[in-house]
């Protein structure tokens, strides 16, 4: 089996440890080889592209160049925000030769642009999905609202992933785990993303609207593939509930945790006890 490079990014080392744990648990359980990019750095996230365009290209470019230098042909980037920054940088560097040269000079490394960048859902579709039919031992017979957020699907021109307004890939994966994906209106609405600390009340308003629609449609959990979406819907639940004036207790799981449960992987290995909103025993 071909080895896939792995870029965890900073959130997966801290706030979203359970995303890291559940990606690795899936890989272990299904014998899918992952190799972490050695000495990776932060992608710069919203802060870099808000403040300094050159830095916003150079930080992700160093990661891409490291992966290439370490002999990787493709990498998986589970954090949707990191994925957006890496994929956008890759797109800029392969379409603008002047910027490529300038950025390579800034990082002191070469980047040919042959690397393939996968988000978590693409990695699952490519490597996990073909094995699912035989591997699901504990179907999760629950209603789920799949929440894609922004950076997994936008900008579509660059990412070319799924349908931009009504994506289906996670809905399909949910169904393969025995769950029933609900039809709802907030699949790709923004949760407030990087304003979590600097403007928590905005995150409360936006995340509240998402949670409330999912709950009204009868979803028993929300499924995500982004650490920012997860922490805004889970850790920022008090702010969301304050904004709504009600107390919603709908849990939020990473797609890798749902698949892990369906494969019978123990909850602890999937980091399910790390959530603020408890996940019931299904």
């Amino acid at each position: 089996m071909k080895e896939t490079g792995f870029y965890p990014g900073c959130s997966l080392q801290a706030t979203s440890r359970e995303y890291n744990e559940s990606v690795r648990a899936l890989a272990r359980h299904l014998s899918l080889p992952l190799r972490e990019i050695e000495d990776w750095n932060c992608c710069g996230a919203t802060a870099a592209h808000s403040m300094n365009h050159e830095l916003a290209l150079a930080l992700p470019a160093r990661v891409l160049a490291l992966a290439e230098a370490q002999g990787m042909e493709e990498i998986v980037v589970p954090c949707a925000a990191c994925y957006g920054r890496l994929a956008t940088t890759h797109h800029t560097l392969v379409t603008d030769e002047t910027l490529r040269q300038k950025t390579c000079d800034t990082i002191g490394m070469e980047y040919s642009g042959k690397l393939k960048i996968l988000n978590a859902v693409q990695w699952i579709e490519q490597y996990v999905e073909p094995l699912l039919a035989n591997a699901v031992t504990h179907p999760i017979n629950r209603k789920m609202a799949c929440y894609y957020g922004c950076l997994l699907v936008r900008p579509h021109k660059v990412l070319q992933f799924d349908r931009v307004e009504d994506p289906q890939s996670m809905d399909r994966l949910c169904a393969l785990c025995g769950s029933e994906p609900v039809d709802w209106a907030f699949k790709t609405e923004c949760c407030g993303a990087g304003l979590s600390i600097s403007r928590t009340q905005s995150v409360g308003r936006l995340s509240g609207a998402i949670l409330s629609d999912a709950a009204e449609r009868g979803a028993e959990a929300i499924i995500v593939a982004c650490p920012m979406c997860h922490s805004n819907l889970d850790m920022r639940r008090p702010a969301a509930n304050r904004s709504l004036g009600q107390k919603l207790d709908i849990p939020v799981l990473f797609i890798t945790q749902l698949i892990g449960l369906a494969l019978g992987i123990p909850r602890k290995e999937l980091g399910l006890d790390r959530h603020f909103v408890p996940v019931p025993q299904w």
């Binding site: 900073c10 080392q13 801290a14 706030t15 979203s16 440890r17 000495d39 990776w40 750095n41 932060c42 710069g44 996230a45 919203t46 802060a47 870099a48 592209h49 808000s50 403040m51 300094n52 365009h53 050159e54 830095l55 916003a56 150079a58 930080l59 160093r62 000079d105 800034t106 990082i107 002191g108 922004c150 950076l151 936008r154 900008p155 579509h156 021109k157 931009v164 307004e165 790709t188 609405e189 923004c190 407030g192 993303a193 990087g194 304003l195 600390i197 600097s198 403007r199 928590t200 905005s202 936006l206 850790m235 008090p238 006890d273 790390r274 959530h275 603020f276």
Partner: protein
């Protein structure tokens, strides 16, 4: 070398050179504003902001630079996703933010957001990776919001989500070089 055509670029020309975006393509359909998650909190909703830029008037340009909108944009990319003319508003806004800082006319209401970005980049500069505790400490010192999120921190610690010591990468010098060359 000076040529006959050389002149100081106007703000509109600078913006186009930075972003590669032609604001004249916009025909004010308003889909960006309708879909913008932050529009309800903005002083200039996205379509209004683009309209001001289209006028080319220095006063209108100044109004955009001073707006709170350019700092509230979270870069969710919904506007460009729905724009029939593919006007890249998030890219425009990235350029406007850096212009606003250069011109020293940043909206006072953006203060916490900018302090957050600076604290974030400060941590990345020190370690090569983001230390979340490192970020929060610097943010609190910059904003003096000392008691914000004190209710969340114990839960994060208990759930193993707040490492006390940031990870530092081996290529720290390369990161220093990147920050230096980017003037960051």
């Amino acid at each position: 070398m000076m040529t006959e055509n050389s002149h100081t670029p106007s703000p509109a020309e600078r913006l186009k050179a930075c972003s590669g975006v032609d604001v004249q393509l916009c025909y004010q359909c308003g889909k960006c504003t309708a879909g913008c998650a932050m529009a309800p909190e903005m002083d200039l909703p996205p379509s209004f902001l683009v309209r001001l830029l289209q006028t080319g008037s220095p006063a209108a340009y100044r109004r955009v630079l001073e707006s709170r909108s350019i700092w509230l944009c979270v870069g969710c990319e919904q506007c460009i996703g729905r724009c029939p003319k593919e006007v890249d508003i998030p890219r425009l806004i990235d350029c406007l933010r850096s212009e606003a800082q250069k011109e020293g006319c940043v909206s006072p209401e953006a203060s916490d957001i900018i302090k957050f970005h600076k604290s974030f980049l400060g941590s990345v500069k020190r370690n090569g990776r983001l230390g979340e505790l490192d970020l929060v400490v610097e943010y609190k010192l910059r904003t003096l919001h000392l008691f914000q999120d004190v209710d969340v921190a114990p839960g994060m610690l208990a759930k193993g989500k707040l490492p006390l010591i940031p990870e530092r990468i081996k290529g720290k010098r390369e990161i220093d070089e990147i920050f230096k060359k980017s003037n960051a």
